[in-house]
């Protein structure tokens, strides 16, 4: 039940792409390629105009997607149009979730009043997301302290809410996340923001140790770009690997060089396969998987 199922049997490979990057049609093909390549969960970015938590790679992906006309409404169409059999998570910023209610309310009231303060908060967005088949959310600028309305809406519609745990997260903050998290926890492998790096950080092991008694799967992200990375991460105890920038790089490169969609999709599928295989190798190296 819920996203946890994707981590149940073997380490999960969780790729990220910005929906609609660089165009609606290409993006559909790319996401489907990831599913082909072995994705267990796919994080789909709904682009926000001020992506303060992203590295350059994903920031540029967001610009491309917005320029190509992506909106929350189109995003939901995109999800509905996707032909994949993999659980989907929406990764976006809180204002888009929060305003969907406002703007829906506004539209309903037909400009009857100048007031824009929401009475609904995140509920309309979650309802619509559930409707098109989204199973969970990652909201990088929503702290656990402010997450209650979104958590409640997710509960109402049966969706998961994933929190990001940083290497520096501890104490009360960690407790507040643990209380509200579901599906999986996003373990940030290092300080900084999203982006592919060349090595695996020591902080990962420490973070996994801090979360060892949590009963949700731990997926590690930030900086993973090769099968060997994935292997190392999973060997260190992760239940899954989250990979974004390394995949977005392929999309960006294909877009810049005008490569055919199929060629780019093939490369994505191929990297996905490598990452998934790496994760599987990593699982073999672990003394004993503790969860089933």
């Amino acid at each position: 039940m819920g996203l946890e199922r994707a981590f149940a049997d073997e380490p999960a490979f969780v790729p990220y792409l910005a929906a609609g990057d660089p165009s609606y049609e290409e993006s559909l093909a790319y996401v489907e390629a990831l599913a082909e390549g072995g994705a267990d969960v796919i994080e789909l970015g709904l682009p926000f105009s001020e992506p303060i938590a992203e590295g350059k790679t994903i920031q540029n992906a967001i610009v491309r997607s917005l320029d190509a006309g992506m909106t929350p409404g189109r995003f939901f169409e995109f999800v509905a149009d996707l032909d994949v059999d993999v659980p989907l998570v929406c990764m976006t910023y809180y204002n888009l979730i929060y305003q969907y209610g406002n703007s829906e309310a506004k539209r309903a009231s037909e400009n009857a009043s100048g007031e824009t303060a929401s009475q609904e908060g995140p509920r309309p967005f979650v309802e619509k997301a559930a409707d098109v088949g989204i199973e969970g959310f990652v909201v990088p600028d929503l702290p656990a302290e402010e997450a209650r309305p979104l958590r409640d809406a997710c509960d109402e519609f049966g969706l998961d809410l994933i929190f990001i745990v940083a290497p520096t997260t501890e104490g009360d903050r960690l407790d507040r996340m643990r209380e509200q998290v579901s599906g999986y926890v996003y373990v940030q492998a290092r300080m900084g923001v999203t982006g592919a790096r060349d090595d695996v950080d020591d902080a990962t092991g420490a973070s996994l140790a801090r979360l060892s008694d949590w009963d949700v799967p731990k997926a590690v992200g930030f900086g993973i770009k090769t099968g060997d990375h994935a292997e190392e991460i999973v060997a260190a105890g992760a239940d899954g690997v989250i990979v974004g920038s390394a995949l977005v790089d392929i999309v960006a490169e294909g877009h810049e060089n005008g490569r055919p969609t199929e060629a780019v999709a093939d490369d994505l599928e191929s990297l996905a396969r490598e990452l998934k295989q790496g994760a599987l190798r990593g699982a073999q190296e672990r003394p004993q998987p503790e969860r089933t």
């Binding site: 350059k56 703007s103 702290p143 990001i164």
Partner: protein, 412 residues
Amino acid sequence: PKFGEYGGQYVPEALMPAIEELADAYERYVLENEDGFMDEFRRRLADFGGRPTPLQRAEQLSARYDTEVYLKREDLVHGGAHKLNNALGQVLLAKYMGKERIIAETGAGQHGTATAMAAAHLDMPCEIYMGETDIARQRPNVFRMRINGAEVNPVTVGRGTLKEAISETMRDWATTVEETHYVIGSVVGPHPFPKMVRDFQSVISEEAREQAIEKTGGLPDSVVACAGGGSNTMGAFAEFVDDTGVELHAVEAGGSSLEVDEEEGVAPNSATLSTGGEGVLHGARTKLLQDSDGQIMESHSVSAGLDYAGVGPELAHLVDEGRVIPANVDDDAALEAFHRLSQDEGVIPALETAHAFGYLEEHHDELGDTVVVNVSGRGDKDLETVVEETSKRDLDVAPDMSVLNRVGGGGL
């Protein structure tokens, strides 16, 4: 950490320890004056920054409006604007916190130059992120930052303007929180920034309040300040908030129009308090300019410093509470006011500041007998814009610049 429902800490988890550490330092050093922080801050504001600034009676404007008009002369602060009050406070605080490096972002360059000055003064390495588009159009400010020894890091992602620079600075901070302090330039961002910046800027109203009493025998009837992010506004208002007899007027940029172009995602104004909706931007819940999806709109103003789609959460709250009166003045009226103050009083205001005087022109008869207007900065930085924008319009008060055409010569 909230002002009603506004404020909060809507930031990536990786930044949470940094802002928690900062919140702790704010309480200890700023609120409790631990290790004499506030004493040193005030001493440096005086010796380095040139405080107190005068509260000057504006003789010609007082006659023009039959109202006692007083100018709070923040244009005389070192660097030419109130910006230093905050930059100096934060860089000093970073020093007390044991940080070894300062970062900041800048759009038009005013906050960047203030931070670079403060960092040079306090011998702190400093890096300023600035979009490459902004670098190309704000070269004098880039020179000033470099001359003060700051690194200027061009941000090439996206459109190369303020929003990308903010993301890039957040990114740096998220990677380097342990040794680095991010100096935010206005009363925006996650807690504790809105309170802390307000407290550093409140020296404006602290002085103005005392000076008004000394010069006029009482409190003013109104205080008028322009509002972009709102740091000069909150600085000018803070110590008057409890004086319920003093009206507080926050004047935003009306730009060319209050109508928005939803299709293009463009608001041809920066009138967040008057026309914006509630939302979450840059770490805080506040009022902001957004489309119906919640995407942030591109704002516009003849004044780069007011050109921001958000506003400080405390100001949003004070407006909702009815304590602060929001208003806006369009580009034309701001330009006229710029010329009027320059010609009548010999004070060339920043274009930001000019909005406050545009409001005074339009509403002087509703502001009571005594009005304090905050001259948030000087206009030297805006000369090129003013000449260009004035030449596009037919303004009664604008001077004829043909002397420059007659003798030829290059650009500004």
